[in-house]
């Protein structure tokens, strides 16, 4: 029987761009280019490796986001995923993590799954809580923050490297897995992969198809409210010295003056 893998990915503003907030205090997506969140590339990579090991597997990439978010899906398809689902709806603008997890959970259930894989966090919000919330909503085991993952005979195993210990985990499918950037370098799409991706199916779903009311999501339906966003004042220019043999001593003098020594 085919192993159904759903990889959740996010389209995020490029961190090397000049990111800022729009007037409604949501992330301004117009002024900065977007791309597939780098940490999600590791999730796609692990899905591809798990599918390679399985007799028969199908990888669906799923995203919730505006029109441009299709770019993130195309990237994942060109890496080797089989098909894509794009949940797109004007009412989704400004949805927070609780609302997004609701949309993703409904879409995952509608798509059908044995294994959900995500990155450890998005590179924009960097909360790192979505995988745990998805497991809660779907009512399946969470096997999160894995630096190594393996799926065999309906069981997922993996290694979670925490602050104080490294844990070996095990759960039965279906399950939600998240992987860290230590799980293995993500592959670059090949030219063949990029060409093939153009022919792969991308389905578009809206809130109605997922039986979600508009007031459960979006800025108005959000479970959190941002009251203000201020750019951090630029640091006042520091003292920069060139080392001409005494740089270490001069630095010690500075640290002593700041009472660190």
């Amino acid at each position: 029987m085919s192993l159904r893998i759903v990889v959740c990915v996010k389209y995020v503003p490029d961190a090397t761009g000049d990111r800022h907030f729009a007037d409604d205090l949501t992330v301004d997506r117009d002024d900065v280019d977007g791309l597939l969140s780098e940490l999600d590339e590791y999730a796609v990579e692990q899905a591809l490796q798990i599918a390679d090991e399985a007799d028969d597997a199908e990888i669906t990439v799923l995203t919730v986001g505006p029109e441009d978010a299709k770019d993130a899906l195309r990237k994942a398809l060109s890496m080797g995923a089989d098909k894509a689902i794009h949940v797109e709806d004007d009412d989704l603008h400004g949805t927070d993590v609780i609302g997004t997890s609701l949309v993703l959970a409904k879409a995952i259930e509608k798509a059908g799954y044995d294994l959900v894989i995500t990155g450890m966090a998005s590179t924009d919000g960097t909360m790192g809580v979505l995988p745990a919330i998805l497991a809660e909503r779907l009512g399946v085991p969470q096997v999160t923050l894995l630096s190594e993952v393996k799926v065999e005979d309906g069981t997922v195993t993996g290694r979670r490297d925490g602050d104080s210990a490294s844990e070996q985990l095990e759960a039965s499918l279906p399950a939600v897995v998240s992987v860290t950037d230590q799980s293995g370098e993500a592959r670059y799409p090949s030219f063949k992969g990029i060409m093939a991706a153009k022919k792969k199916p991308v389905e578009s779903w809206d809130l109605e198809e997922l039986e979600i009311e508009a007031d459960e999501v979006g800025l108005e339906g959000s479970w959190t409210a941002v009251d203000s966003a201020a750019q951090r004042p630029a640091r006042t220019a520091g003292t920069i010295v060139k080392d001409e043999g005494e740089g270490g001593k001069a630095l010690a003098e500075f640290l002593a003056g700041q009472k660190f020594i």
């Binding site: 961190a15 990111r19 800022h20 907030f21 927070d96 609780i98 966090a121 590179t123 924009d124 960097t126 909360m127 790192g128 809580v129 745990a132 919330i133 809660e136 909503r137 085991p141 969470q142 096997v143 999160t144 923050l145 490297d161 925490g162 602050d163 104080s164 210990a165 490294s166 844990e167 070996q168 985990l169 095990e170 759960a171 950037d181 230590q182 959000s222 479970w223 959190t224 409210a225 941002v226 009251d227 203000s228 966003a229 201020a230 951090r232 520091g238 920069i240 010295v241 060139k242 080392d243 043999g245 740089g247 270490g248 001593k249 630095l251 010690a252 500075f254 640290l255 660190f260 020594i261």
Partner: protein, 320 residues
Amino acid sequence: MAEVLVYVDHVDGAVRKPTLELLTLARRIGEPVALALGAGAADTAAVLAEHGAVKVLTADAPEFTEYLVVPKVDALQAAYDAVSPAAVLVPSSAEGKEIAARLAVRIGSGIITDAIDLEAGDEGPVATQAAFAASFTTKSRVSKGTPVITVKPNSAPVEAAPAAGAVEALAVTFGALATGTKVVSRTPRESTGRPELTEAAIVVSGGRGVNGAENFHIIEELADSLGAAVGASRAAVDAGWYPHSNQVGQTGKSVSPQLYIASGISGAIQHRAGMQTSKTIVAINKDAEAPIFDLVDYGVVGDLFAVVPQLTEEIKARKG
């Protein structure tokens, strides 16, 4: 006065500093009630009382160590039901965030993670967060349900505020999901004797310029002279020179110490995201154009192999 539920991070009864900081913040918005789970939970009571906990709920069961995260969520939910708090505060560790997030969904509440400050507001607690690699500061609230907020280490001072701290055993019923993910084995991380990276007052980090695992002792010796934690940039970790558990940056740990010393680190956005809120920033780099110099209070353009050992010697000499 409204009660605020505080989740306690401890190791066999020894309460970790971020939890004591949480108690300081909790007192700004109500009366702290602490929840301590696992072996040694009751041993946390004295220090929690010393820092303002009016009550300490405790529970221990094999499920907390044998299965991942969910048993702790069941316990936190039991405490939530027992206390009906005005807010729930949890330390922003990887596990703490997962526990908090699952509770939030269960009780129909919003969640704010990685707060760096917290104050009382007209419509509930207001959390300050750093956004976009700490280039922005936002103020947010939970607008639905009971605020669930996770707070980063070093966000508040540890203050003594003696309170009753009466210990009460909490009854926990584990749900069907509690045993979903089995912890088959656990290998404790070897202790270096140095402070924990995210909690340290001083962090000394090395990057690409350190040029090999065999040279990292230079960074470690500087750290030890200052009683500091050791960090590493992603480049150094990816090259295999230092463990991932010490990585500072967007995909590693986010640190906010009193003093951050970056050696041989250029200051890519990935790294800046993890250290930009440090109070005082110092960099040593031979490339005068390195973006890290835009952030520093003091920078030395020079070879770290000359500057860092000289600095270490000078610190040792000054400390006598």
